[in-house]
């Protein structure tokens, strides 16, 4: 039964890098349970011999000539950045204290 617990939602939000407070967990967990319940029957629809479709049209790899084309300048690429230093994206520390 696809009843999704508050703890599971907390774990999934963690995987998706979203901080949820208790009020949000209370609000979202029951809604997600209802949605999951409504889609649960999906696994009983198709038999094993039905191939999956990941894309509506046949997709093949697309190649192009390896030639230089116009692209963004460093200033343009950095224009929306929250913080910039020496023509680079400035980000918070990426390692934890314990690492």
């Amino acid at each position: 039964m696809p009843d999704i617990s508050r703890e599971q939602v907390r774990h999934l939000a963690d995987l998706a890098r979203i901080e949820l407070d208790d009020a949000e967990l209370d609000h979202l967990a029951p809604q997600l349970s209802v949605i999951l319940e409504s889609v649960a029957s999906i696994s009983e629809v198709a038999t094993d011999d039905v191939p999956p479709t990941s894309h509506p049209l046949p997709v093949t790899n697309v190649f192009r000539e390896d030639v230089v084309r116009p692209s963004l300048t460093p200033e343009q690429a950095l224009s929306g950045a929250p913080a910039v230093e020496e023509q680079r994206f400035a980000v918070p520390r990426i390692l934890g204290d314990e690492q």
Binding site: V9, L12, R17, E19, L20, E24, P51, P52, P56, S79
Partner: protein, 510 residues
Amino acid sequence: MSAPLIERSAAALADALASGETTSVELTQAFLRRIAAVDGAVHAFLHVDAEGALAAARASDERRAAGTPASALDGVPVAVKDVLATEGLPTTCGSRILEGWRPPYDATVVARLKAAGLPILGKTNMDEFAMGSSTEHSAYGPTHNPWDLDRIPGGSGGGSAAAVAAFEAPLAIGTDTGGSIRQPGAVTGTVGVKPTYGGVSRYGLVAMANSLDQAGPVTRTVLDAALLHEVIGGHDPLDSTSIDQPLPAVVDAARAGAEVDLAGLRVGIVAELGGEGYQPGVQQRFDEAVELLVEAGAEVVQVSCPSFVHALAAYYLVMPSEASSNLARFDAMRYGLRVLPEGVDSPSAEDVMRATRDAGFGDEVKRRIILGTYALSSGYYDAYYGSAQQVRTLISRDFAAAFERADVLVSPTSPTTAFKLGEKLDDPLAMYLNDVATIPANLAGVPGISVPAGLAAEDDLPVGFQVLAPATADDRLYRVGAALEALLEQQWGGPLLSADQLALETEEHA
């Protein structure tokens, strides 16, 4: 006496520009005045670019004077859904996480609009990241339906549909992942087209579900939609899923359709898309429209697409799965919002991501990201995402079988007319059901159009008639859509929409 400029079709405006009756600057000013007068009540726009639009209009008038217009629609203004990147103009996707972001490049659709000489009036409101059916999930407040300001304009492209319905723009661009062009078209009495998947470039379209998303025209007439489709459609090397073959002759098809000869056309009524769950007034207008097609020579075939009953479930697994992956790019590092968590000394990048994504995403976006993360997680992948992909195959097979027996398939676009703002806001499942008739086309990649079919008897609100065609046969939508439009307007004595009947507080009326 001819109609006021803002009430004319884009095709008529193009004629007025060609004959010298008006100029693009005059036209653009007229729409900017209309926006100033009514958008306080409608809220179709998130950003109006008066200066940019007028500069483009002046350039258009110069081309016209030199005898070198860039396209048939050169000088006719357009509004663009805020999910398409516009160089130097705010592009928020209706989300706080992109508040203030000005892209350094244009989406291909936008570049083509500019190359064809269409002044861009501004960016239209939408459900956050196109997730919704009412535009109430916009972080910047809902758009109101011009027919009744207490009601939803549909979604996610409610802003584009409302802008066109309220005569704030003659043309607009929408995007359709599960119905976000067609359902707003239906509930606002306008025309909306979802082209064949791959028919219009997705380069610069901020992805929600990239195997489903497709941009397309939002207009008041079928011919206008075809004219706009021709401007934005066709192969683009910047989109690897773009179809590398010529666009079907959609404008010719719309013109031919208006001649109303449907002899030999086989129209399939899909048993699973109608009847129970559909508002009686919606079903009634749909049935009457089918009768009109029959009178015009079409032959009706009943078809069954049994897998369609599972389309909604498949969609609500495939779409959130793709969305959870696509929206991972909003990480507070390279663009958009960055929020530092409270009370944390020297927060890590991951702490900042978590805090930013909590503050920057609304409820519906969080629901879908979490749902998608669940469906893709090990242990659930096969049961959910894998099964949904198999159902997608079954739906495509149903379409293939149905198109053996019918040239086009038809249904009501949306099961109900526009509901009240707030009515379904906190009931996700009820909201999702709005797209029950539009979703199968996205899953299979086939094109669809919604054409106004009249007003429902019980509430006097617009009803949409949906036509679906096989992949790359978009021209059939226009032939049938234009025929139905001509037949209905004959009956009504004119278009469904008129500026007079809208309950808008305007300066003219004040």
